[in-house]
Amino acid sequence: MIIAEQKTLEEIKQIVAGYNKLLVVGCGTCVTVCFAGGEKEVGILASELRMARQMDGQQLETVERTIQRQCEWEFVDQLKDAIEDCDAILSMGCGVGVQGLAERFPTKVVLPALNTKGMALTVQEGLWAERCAGCGNCVLDKFGGVCPIARCSKSLQNGPCGGSVNGKCEIDPEIDCGWQLVYDRMKAINMLDKLYEVQEIKDWSTARDGGPRRINREDLRL
C-alpha cells in the first residue's frame, strides 16, 4: 500500500493560514491503514487546527469528511455538497488523493496535510517499510523476491557494494543490506548460482525517468 506521514502541526498551520472554513478530507484506504489520514486522523487534526487557531486568538471552522478513496471519481464526487461554502480543502490523502481532489474541483484550493513516502509493507504494528519503488519493469524473479531497487540504498542490480557490514547497509545500521537479503533468500531457495549472472544496465525509461507514466487499457475503457 501507499504509506504517508502527517506533516508537522506547525507546517500545516502555515499551509492553512488565511483560510477560515476548511473541509478536512480523509481517505479510507491506504492512509487509514497506516494511520496517517483516515477518519480518526481527520478528527484529531481538525481538533488540533481549531485549538491552534484559538491559541492565536482566532477562529477556524472545520467540516470533516472521509471518503473511501480520494483517487477515484465515484468517491470524490461525494464531497460535492460539502465543498461549496469552504474556503479550502485540506486533503489527508496521499499525493494522488490531493491531486484527485484538485482535478475534480478545479476552482477550489486543495492543500496537502501529509507527506507521501512510497509503497510499503506493514512489517508490524506501527512499522511500515518500503518494498517497491515502482520501477516499471519488475525484476523480482531474478532476486528471489527481494527488490534490489527499493531495498538496496544504491539500487544496485549487481551487488552488494563494499559497505555491507554484518547484514546491515552502510547508510544506517538500522537498515538491512538489501543485497544480504537477496543473498539469504537465493540461498534458501537454492538459486545462488543465478546471482553469478551479470545484470545489464537497467533501462530506467520505464521508471520516473521516462516521464509521467500511465496505463491505458482499451479493453476497459467505456
Binding site: 480518526k40 478528527g43 485549538m51
Partner: protein, 151 residues
C-alpha cells in the same frame, strides 16, 4: 459538610476530566462514596469499556471543550480484563503528549494512573493530585484565550 481541603485558595476551580476503565478505576471511584472517601467535585468521570479504548481524540475533545486537566485511570499492568488496555493507553499518550506540547497546552495537564477496582483510595489520590496540579497551573491556555476573546 464542605471539605475545605477540596477547595482552591484563590477561588479558581479547574475542570478535570477522568477517563476511567469500567473494570477498575470506575469501580474504584464508585466505591469511594460507600467507603467514606471524598474526591474533588472538579472531576468529571467518563466511563471507558477499557483503557485500550482510549483515543487521542477523546483527550483533545476534552481540552477543546474546556478541560483544564485530563487523566486516564486504568487497571494495573497485568490485571487488565482485556489483557493489554493500559499498555495501549500509555502508547496513545505518547501522541497525545506531543500534540498538547505542540499546541502550547502542555503535556503536564495530562496524567495516567493505574489501580485495581477495590483501590478507591488510589482513585481519590489521583483525582486530588490532578486537581491540585490543575489549580497550580491555572486555567488551560486554551480556556484563557477563550475567556480573553469573550471579554
Amino acid at each position: 459538610m464542605e471539605n475545605e481541603a477540596e477547595k482552591s485558595p484563590n477561588g479558581y476551580e479547574p475542570k478535570v476530566v477522568a477517563f476511567a476503565c469500567q473494570y477498575c478505576a470506575y469501580s474504584a471511584a464508585d466505591l469511594a462514596g460507600p467507603t467514606g472517601l471524598q474526591y474533588p467535585a472538579n472531576v468529571r468521570l467518563v466511563k471507558l469499556p477499557c483503557t485500550g479504548k482510549l483515543d487521542v481524540l477523546y483527550i483533545l475533545d476534552a481540552f477543546e471543550n474546556g478541560a483544564d486537566a485530563v487523566f486516564i485511570a486504568g487497571c494495573l499492568d497485568g490485571n487488565c480484563h482485556h489483557v493489554e488496555g493500559p499498555l495501549r493507553a500509555k502508547r496513545r499518550l505518547v501522541l497525545a503528549n506531543k500534540i498538547l506540547n505542540e499546541l502550547g497546552i502542555g503535556a503536564d495537564r495530562l496524567g495516567m494512573y493505574q489501580m485495581s477496582g477495590g483501590e478507591s483510595i488510589r482513585f481519590v489520590e489521583a483525582a486530588r493530585e490532578m486537581t491540585d496540579r490543575a489549580r497550580q497551573l491555572g486555567p488551560s491556555p486554551l480556556n484563557q484565550r477563550k475567556s480573553a476573546a469573550n471579554e
